[in-house]
């Protein structure tokens, strides 16, 4: 049987505005996210999904243009 392949994680460092940092900390303190990292990962995931959806939309539109030519 297949053994589960552990997802590779990469450590990245960046600077964010202090206010943004405090807001994230508060979301964690309120129990909305288990950790600040998890909140950031969720934010990244959501934006990537949005970007993917947009890209798919453009591809579909391009397809329609080609077909309709």
């Amino acid at each position: 049987m297949c053994s589960e392949v552990k997802e590779k994680l990469v450590l990245i460092s960046l600077r964010i505005p202090k206010q943004m940092y405090n807001e994230l900390e508060n979301l964690v303190a309120r129990g909305l996210f288990p950790s600040r990292s998890e909140a950031i990962r969720t934010a990244i995931r959501n934006l990537l999904l949005k970007e993917r959806e947009q890209a798919n939309q453009y591809t579909e539109e391009e397809g329609k243009l080609v077909v309709g030519r």
């Binding site: 049987m1 297949c2 392949v5 997802e7 590779k8 994680l9 990469v10 450590l11 990245i12 460092s13 960046l14 600077r15 964010i16 505005p17 202090k18 206010q19 943004m20 940092y21 405090n22 807001e23 994230l24 508060n26 979301l27 303190a29 309120r30 909305l32 600040r36 990292s37 909140a39 950031i40 990962r41 969720t42 934010a43 990244i44 995931r45 959501n46 934006l47 990537l48 999904l49 949005k50 970007e51």
Partner: protein, 223 residues
């Protein structure tokens, strides 16, 4: 004298986070495409987006919930709601909402939004994991067949330079050994053909078996 500053420089904090490699690669692709100037900029944009979404949820609740009854109880409740809004939404500019939403309604909408977000991420993670496992499984099967050409595991029949393998054995390997769903087993033949092609074999399918032929031999026949 230098140019006077019109805007106070925003205080920045250095943070470090672990992200999946795949996620970073996707961000890098977007940066390479010129849509974002850097990975940090992308992440800051994403965080801003998340925080804005939380605010819009609260505004939505404020617009849709019913007005509360007048009186002391209402004043107390509004005070409580604004305390929640300040701590949950963290928007210091937010003005008190007249006839504000109940605490329960805010929590419900936030909870639903987070649940939705988590569910979406989970679906994405599962589909990526399944795709990776599927690819790995097909590669293993192709390797196993090619390593077994002269043995008995796959009950391979050899005739005139062609190898015939029963689909039943293949299905067993995919479904029983690897637990692949039926829909994926059907799709696996296409991927197998690609894999065999990379290893110098041409794959043909019949209703009951797959037939393999070395590409060189097939080309010689044509000549």
């Amino acid at each position: 004298m230098g140019v006077p500053r019109t805007k106070a420089k925003e205080k920045m904090v250095l943070i470090s986070i672990h992200v999946p490699k795949q996620m970073l690669e996707e961000i890098n692709d977007l940066v390479a495409s010129g849509k974002y100037t850097s990975v940090s900029e992308f992440i800051r944009y994403a965080i801003r987006d998340l925080l804005n979404n939380m605010r819009s949820i609260i505004n939505q609740v404020a617009a849709t919930t019913n007005p509360q009854p007048q009186g002391t109880h209402q004043a107390q409740q509004q005070q409580h709601v604004h305390a929640v809004l300040d701590t949950v939404v963290l928007n210091t500019d937010m003005k008190p909402v007249a006839n504000g939403p109940s605490n329960g309604a805010i929590e419900y909408v936030i909870e639903k939004s987070i649940e939705k977000s988590i569910a979406r991420a989970e679906v994405e993670r599962k589909s990526k994991k399944a795709a990776k496992r599927y690819r790995e499984c097909v590669t293993k099967l192709v390797n196993a067949i090619l390593n077994d050409l002269s043995h008995l595991r796959f009950n391979i029949k050899q005739e005139d330079g062609t190898y015939k393998i029963s689909k039943k054995v293949i299905r067993e390997f995919l479904e029983v050994d690897w637990g692949l769903p039926k829909g994926m087993v059907a799709a696996a033949y296409g991927t197998m053909a690609e894999e065999f092609d990379k290893r110098g074999f041409i794959m043909r399918r019949t209703p009951t078996a797959i037939i393999l032929k070395k590409r060189q031999a097939a080309e010689q026949e044509v000549v």
